[in-house]
């Protein structure tokens, strides 16, 4: 330790910095190697401060440690003297992962030996200033001097930045003279940019209004979110630039071939197991994979990971494709892992031949848990494994009597993951052709490789399998995609696992997989969530490496944003109170025009009848006026929305129990009357419909967490999660609406037409309330 400390301070690190460095084992070891290397050239005392800084920066920035000696030597020989050169050098070694390094190309790329004279700097700066002279004179010191520096720098690639800055400062001073008062005044920058932002917003809304769709905007916004992490993604064919990517002697040739096939196009895939229904978590994966490809003019596959014959059912396949398309994405191609069974088998034989896999007879129980005993068959002869593997295929072993295992240790210490196991079960696509089926660990990366996927995006749980992913591709010398993991999307107040949803369905808590209280994608669709809103939500959550747990109201707010612009307004009364307008004649009927979007009447309107009998919400009338209550009371008139009338109570009709049955009111034109305190919605000659109101299915945030819900998620059901109103009244404009058509019931919420609707009776699901907290009066 002390030695290292001395060593580090000897190159000019402060003691504190040196101590800090020592805490990082990897860095210290690299730095130590680097310094030792330099000592060979310069001796123990020959490292000056600037060399020391370069060494330190090199050590902390270099990913590929096998280049330490090479770069340290370059620094020692003063081939690399500046930060700029070091950056170029680091870039160079990153893009040339294979030996040998072409010394000449390296030196050219790093500007080794390039000498910049002060005269050159002077000339370069002079010509740049000359170019901008006019504007400089006009804007004086408000001119962005960075531009000058940048241009001068690009003219003299290897010049020292400081020298250029000094030269620019000097020449500018020479041109403009010292700063005046006006020069010191701040520009009104922020204000200006805000105006611009508003412009954009207005413009976007117009666009929406014109096209009636939001998709173009949404993809953009998704990509804005992606920018953070995804900008760091490698370009097609430059897989080796990704940290942790394993380079073998064949990598470069394979990447070249990969580039020839893909033409440099980005390729992603969404690879669900067809054994269940997609849920909100999958929406993120779909958006990420399809979105990233789309944003980069690439392609995205929908690949069913159908390697497990026992779990797959045809219905899942169609449901998954439906949902992907519902979210607005079209797969470049729909593929199946099972398409590759023969090729995968051939590769497995090859893997055995290469000595990387063997047939094992350990029982499943023996391998469970940690510290499973190593396989006694690990070192059996290759020939033997080849024969036995063939016998596995031919049905000579019973289930569990033999597996094919790969000779590798996973990140979590698991030894020799299984590649193939025996299952005497028919596969829905390959029928009775196979009785051995590949595992996820074996299949996934090879299917990615076969499809020439550039970015294999998956959730964090698979991080532990990344090394096996790379190992297998490299063990077989096939193209190796880059695996990149992101945090899974978790939503509170719900469960998404297949098993748990089955429980909920079985126990009758929910009606089916698409019960609108669930967060499966079919459920969300049924509830009326627009796909754009789900996509926006995924974009807002973003793709970060960290796990994210999100509250459903964020999703709901995305839904409101979309529906606000897309769901036409109608009026509906959930708990009706009959109102007779006495001062209208019996046969009176007029049409009232209601704009579909009051905020933008240009988007159209519809008419509803207005007659002597109307219905209002029971809650919009109170017999006793309370302070703050602005709607109808015997003393307080109220306006009827869109109708242009104000009504005043004349008589309250009650039953024997004193319950209000009906109101008799008089009305007058709102022009004539005093402006009422509030306007309420109403219906006249309405349609009777069923309305289903939903609340959260669970009472606790994390129903699966035993510390929160000790008796299991089934004990946490919210008894009020579904409220059915069987005879609500809705205005006639919804007549003829199709399933999943969405409306805003004014003042009540957003609603979507449920598939249960019949010609006689419409059924509406409340998608979301109008506001996040509907609790206020």
């Amino acid at each position: 330790m002390a030695d290292c400390l001395t060593l580090f301070t000897s190159i000019g690190l402060s003691e504190q910095k040196a101590k800090e460095t020592l805490k990082n084992d990897a860095l210290s070891s690299v730095l130590k190697d680097a310094i030792t290397q330099v000592h060979q050239t310069h001796g123990a005392s020959g490292v000056d401060k600037s060399m020391g800084v370069l060494l330190y920066n090199m050590a902390s920035r270099l990913k590929d440690t096998k280049r330490v000696a090479f770069l340290a030597d370059s620094i020692a020989q003063r081939k690399l003297c500046t930060e700029l050169q070091l950056t170029a050098a680091l870039d160079f070694v990153k893009s040339h992962p294979q030996d040998p390094i072409n010394q000449k190309a390296f030196e050219e790329a790093c500007g080794v030996g390039v000498v910049i004279t002060p005269e050159q700097v002077e000339d370069a700066v002079e010509s740049v200033i000359k170019k901008h002279k006019e504007q400089l004179l006009k804007e004086r010191y408000h001119f962005n001097m960075g531009v000058l520096m940048g241009e001068a720098r690009s003219a003299l690639k290897w010049a020292d930045g400081k020298v250029i800055k000094n030269e620019v400062d000097m020449q500018v001073l020479h041109l403009l003279g010292p700063k005046t008062e006006a020069d010191l005044e701040k520009k009104s920058k922020p204000q200006k940019s805000k105006v611009a932002e508003n412009d954009v917003k207005v413009k976007r809304e117009e666009e929406v209004a014109v096209n009636g769709e939001v998709s173009t905007g949404e993809v953009k916004s998704l990509m804005e979110q992606l920018r953070g992490e995804a900008l760091k993604f490698h370009k097609a064919g430059e897989n080796f630039k990704t940290e942790g990517y394993v380079v073998t002697p064949n990598t470069m040739a394979l990447l070249k071939k990969h580039l020839e096939i893909t033409g440099g196009q980005i390729r992603t895939r969404f690879p669900p197991e067809p054994n269940g229904i997609l849920h909100i978590g999958h929406a993120k994966a779909i958006n990420f994979n399809f979105g990233y490809a789309k944003a980069n003019s690439g392609i995205c596959f929908l690949r069913y990971d159908d390697t497990n014959p026992e779990k797959e059912e045809e219905k899942y396949f169609t449901a998954i494709k439906d949902m992907v398309e519902w979210l607005g994405y079209t797969p470049y191609a729909v593929t199946h892992a099972s398409d590759n069974f023969q090729q995968l088998y051939n590769l497995a034989v090859d893997l055995i031949r290469r000595g990387h896999a063997y047939v094992c007879h350990q029982k499943g129980e023996e391998l469970k848990g940690h510290n499973a005993p190593p396989s006694p068959w690990r070192d059996r002869p290759i020939e033997e494994s080849l024969v036995l593997f063939e016998r596995m295929r031919k049905g000579l072993f019973a289930e569990g009597e033999a597996t094919l295992r790969m000779k590798m240790v996973m990140e979590d210490g698991k030894m020799d993951p299984v590649a193939y196991r025996i299952k005497y079960t028919a596969h829905h696509r390959t029928g009775d052709e196979w009785c051995i089926y590949p595992t996820y660990d074996y299949t996934h990366c090879l299917c990615d490789s076969i499809e020439n996927i550039t970015h294999s995006l998956c959730t964090k749980e698979f991080q532990a399998r990344r090394s096996s992913y790379y190992w297998l591709c490299n063990a077989l010398d096939v193209y190796c995609p880059v695996q990149w993991e992101y945090g899974r999307l978790n939503l509170t107040y719900t469960v998404v696992s297949k098993r748990k949803i089955i429980k909920l369905v079985e126990t009758g808590v929910v009606r089916d997989w698409d019960d609108p209280r669930l967060f499966t994608l079919t459920a969300l669709r049924r509830r009326g969530f627009p796909p754009e809103a789900i996509n926006n939500f995924c974009a807002r959550v973003g793709v970060t490496v960290s796990q994210t747990t999100t509250e459903p109201h964020l999703l709901e707010s995305c839904v409101r944003d979309v529906l606000n612009d897309t769901a036409p307004r109608v009026m509906a009364v959930l708990e009706p109170l009959k109102v007779t307008i006495t001062n209208l004649p019996e046969s009176s009927q007029s049409d009232v025009r209601v704009p579909d979007f009051p905020a933008n009447e240009a988007k159209g309107s519809h008419t509803v009848p207005f007659t002597r009998t109307i219905f209002i919400e029971q809650s919009d009338f109170r017999e006793v006026l309370e302070k703050g209550y602005k709607r109808l009371t015997p003393e307080q008139p109220v306006g009827l929305r869109h109708a242009g009338f104000v009504i005043s109570v004349q008589k309250v009709l009650k039953d024997a129990q004193g319950k209000v049955l009906e109101l008799e009111v008089s009305c007058c034109s709102s022009d004539a009357a005093e402006k009422p305190k509030a306007f309420i919605h109403w219906v006249s000659r309405p349609l009777v419909c069923e309305v289903r109101l939903y609340e959260r299915l669970f009472q606790h945030k994390h129903p699966e967490d035993p510390s929160e819900v000790p008796n299991g998620f089934l004990s946490d059901i919210n008894p009020n999660s579904l409220h059915v109103i069987s005879s609500a009244l809705v205005d006639t404009s919804v007549k003829g609406a199709k399933v999943f058509d969405k409306f805003q019931f004014e003042r009540v919420g957003y609603f979507s037409l449920d598939p249960d609707s019949t010609a006689d009776k419409l059924v509406f699901n409340r998608t979301v309330t109008l506001k996040e907290d509907p609790g206020k009066i």
Partner: protein, 707 residues
């Protein structure tokens, strides 16, 4: 399942056994668990002792069981209860998986046989597969329906016939089902799966199914045969075979009995080798025993410097007689002889050297015979098993299998009338001991899957007891390992009496073989072949005919019977003799040669020319050629090589029929120029010759191109 449970109350069991019972019953019938769990209420924790309470308890328990079983029966009467048990679902699931696996296995089997397209197809076997499937589908109620498919001799009844229907009707009748065999035959025909070889079937008589093969199919197989050569049918696994044959005694002459063993054993080995087995040919020579003491003692007297100078023993037989005489007459010598035995057994170098010298003399003699007959064999005599005999005795003693009887140690094997004498009263071992040791060594060290002993039938009982003993000890399971004694009858002279020289001596083998050579040459000269053939060709032909005839005469008779040794018969070139077959073979070979068609042209023709089988004789010959694999399969099962001889003879006569009525080459009568070559017929000739050559090879006969 239920039957086993119903009987259960009668089973006597004690407290310890009870929990296990409970477990079993619980597994089978989950709903009976509740009752089982409170059985023996007052017995738990109580020691057995009072018989009254004991029986009362048992009685009570049985009452309980009766109740529960009645309840079960009631519940079983309601089919709804049946459908809902978990166990049933599990069994259904398992059944589905087993069916799936069966299908995979069947396909693998097909794949396997399709993968060796080079190998010859056993048509009979293939037909059995096809008909087996149809039979099982027609009569699912029979567990093991008989499967009989045989080639037909008369062309009007088709090529093969399936005669299962009659036997099946019998079996059904025994089960109380009366069905007309013809109906069964019709059902079988209806159920025939898709196949590549059956052209049509017809039902004849009471229920015979006549099978007609597809001509294109037979033609295709012939083409395959011509292109790939004669290849053995596919082998399920490469088993290891030990063939124990020849096995003469050191210091004694080989006699005609050894000749039979040598010829038959060699041919069997060749058959196994051709079929792809891993064959170990073992010569179990008699090279150990008391007579060696006598021989060594005599050697010491006659050639005192035998350790340095190799003794010129020419006639070991005479040497043996001399020593035997002294042994019988001279007490001192006898004593010394016994001392020599002891010293030999304790491996004293001087004695071992003497023993080796004597053995070498014999070996040289044996080798002369083997060279004539072209026999390859590994000598592994009784001496090899000396140490192992001690181990065997030890093992038997430890297992308590030996019985003492007047100083002898006997091994009685149940079901066998004679015991094995494992140790003599003087402590020495016997043939029984050495054969046990050898068998053990062949099973455990050689890891043989098949072990065949070729000796005269007189030793049949001995081997039967040895094999039974080995199974008793647990050395092998006859279901897994095939151990067999292939016995043969004695060789008789033309007078039908024991084969002797005129002077009454046993015939020396070398003398016999030399006589064969002489008579073969006489025959060739009689036919004036010496004028046609070059001296080398003549010698070749002489040896081929002489040794071929000796072997063939032996092999062409059912080995179980005694056989009459007659040079006149075996050298006759008419009838089922090697002479006839060798002539037939050279004649076939000469057809192409005389038509100036070389091998390359024939090979090319095989690939391009379809083998036409339109003529009856072509069809008959074609089918006959393709029966080769089924003949070999049959011999593999019964080890009767005369079947192969009969087949080759049939092939040769069928060929003659064909050749007499189908022109292969048409020549201008006057000029003798070739006018036309019917190439497909040349191919039939070629295929016949190829099969014959392979047949000869298995019989150990060397055919010549010209004779």
């Amino acid at each position: 399942m239920s039957a086993r449970v119903l009987f259960r109350p009668t089973i006597q069991y004690n407290e310890e056994a009870e929990p296990e019972m409970r477990l079993k019953v619980g597994n089978l019938f989950p709903f009976s668990q509740c009752f089982i769990s409170h059985e023996f209420p007052q017995l738990s924790g109580k020691k057995m002792g009072d018989p009254v309470s004991d029986y009362t308890a048992r009685l009570q328990q049985q009452e309980h069981e009766i109740q529960s079983l009645s309840a079960e029966i009631e519940s079983l009467k309601n089919p709804q209860n049946l459908s809902s048990t978990q166990r049933l679902d599990e069994l259904r699931e398992e059944n589905a998986r087993l069916k799936y696996r069966l299908n995979i296995l069947k396909r693998s089997l097909q794949e396997e046989s399709a993968r060796c397209p080079k190998s010859m197809m056993n048509i009979n076997q293939r037909l059995q597969e096809v008909f087996g499937e149809a039979i099982r589908a027609s009569c699912p109620e029979l567990d093991n329906p008989p499967l009989a498919v045989t080639p037909n001799q008369q062309a009007k009844f088709g090529d093969y016939q399936c005669n299962s229907a009659m036997a099946m009707a019998q079996m059904l009748k025994a089960k109380g089902i009366k069905v007309n065999p013809r109906e069964i035959a019709e059902k079988i025909v209806q159920n025939l799966p898709d196949n590549e070889l059956v052209e049509k079937t017809e039902i004849a008589g009471p229920g015979f199914i006549n099978i007609h093969l597809k001509r294109t199919f037979v033609s295709k197989l012939l083409t395959n045969l011509l292109i790939n050569g004669v290849q053995p049918p596919p082998l399920a696994s490469r088993k290891r075979v030990v063939v124990d044959f020849s096995s003469p005694n050191i210091a004694k002459e080989m006699h005609v009995g050894h000749l039979r063993s040598t010829i038959i054993g060699d041919s069997m080995s060749r058959l196994f080798e051709f079929l792809g087995y891993d064959v170990v040919r073992l010569n179990h020579v008699g090279d150990w025993g008391t007579q060696f003491g006598m021989l060594i003692a005599h050697l010491q007297d006659k050639f005192p410097d035998y350790l340095t100078v190799s003794p010129p023993i020419q006639d070991l037989q005479a040497f043996y007689k001399e020593s035997k005489k002294r042994f019988d007459e001279d007490e001192d010598f006898k004593k010394r002889a016994y001392q020599c035995v002891v010293k030999l057994q304790s491996k004293e170098p001087d004695f071992i050297k003497g023993w080796n010298l004597i053995c070498d003399v014999s070996r040289k003699e044996f080798q002369k015979v083997y060279d004539c007959l072209g026999i390859q064999i590994i000598e592994r005599g009784e001496s090899f098993y000396q140490e192992m005999m001690m181990e065997v005795v030890k093992e038997l003693e430890e297992r308590g299998l030996l019985e003492l009887d007047e100083g002898r140690k006997l091994l009685f094997v149940p079901g066998q009338s004679i015991p094995l004498t494992v140790v003599k009263s003087d402590g020495g071992y016997t043939y029984d001991t050495s054969d046990l040791a050898a068998l053990r060594q062949r099973i455990y060290d050689e890891k043989a899957d098949i072990i065949i002993y070729v000796t005269d039938s007189g030793q049949g009982t001995h081997f039967q007891v040895v094999f039974a003993a080995a199974q008793l000890i647990g050395w092998y399971d006859p279901q897994v390992t095939r151990v067999e004694h292939a016995g043969f009858g004695v060789v008789l002279g033309e007078d039908k009496k024991k084969f002797k020289t005129r002077s009454g001596d046993t015939v020396r083998l070398m003398d016999l073989l030399e006589e064969g050579l002489k008579r073969s040459m006489d025959k060739l000269q009689e036919k004036e072949r010496d004028k046609v053939l070059s001296p080398e060709e003549l010698t070749k032909a002489q040896r081929s005919v002489a040794f071929g005839c000796v072997k063939y005469a032996d092999l062409s008779h059912n080995r179980i019977n005694d056989y009459v040794f007659s040079f006149d018969k075996m050298l006759d070139d008419r009838g089922n003799t090697a002479a006839y077959l060798l002539y037939a073979y050279t004649r076939i070979r000469s057809i192409a040669r005389l038509a100036n068609i070389d091998e390359a042209a024939l090979r090319k023709a095989a690939e391009t020319t379809e083998v036409l089988l339109d003529h009856d004789k072509e069809w008959k010959l074609g089918k006959c050629i393709l029966r080769f694999p089924e003949i070999l399969q049959k011999i593999l099962d019964d080890l009767l090589l005369h079947t192969l001889c009969d087949y080759l003879y049939e092939l040769a006569t069928t060929f003659t029929e064909f050749y007499d009525s189908c022109y292969c080459v048409e020549k201008d009568r006057k000029t003798g120029e070739v006018v036309k070559v019917n190439m497909w017929r040349m191919l039939l000739c070629e295929a016949t010759a190829a099969i014959m050559a392979q047949g000869f090879d298995i019989l150990g006969i060397n055919p010549v191109q010209r004779m």
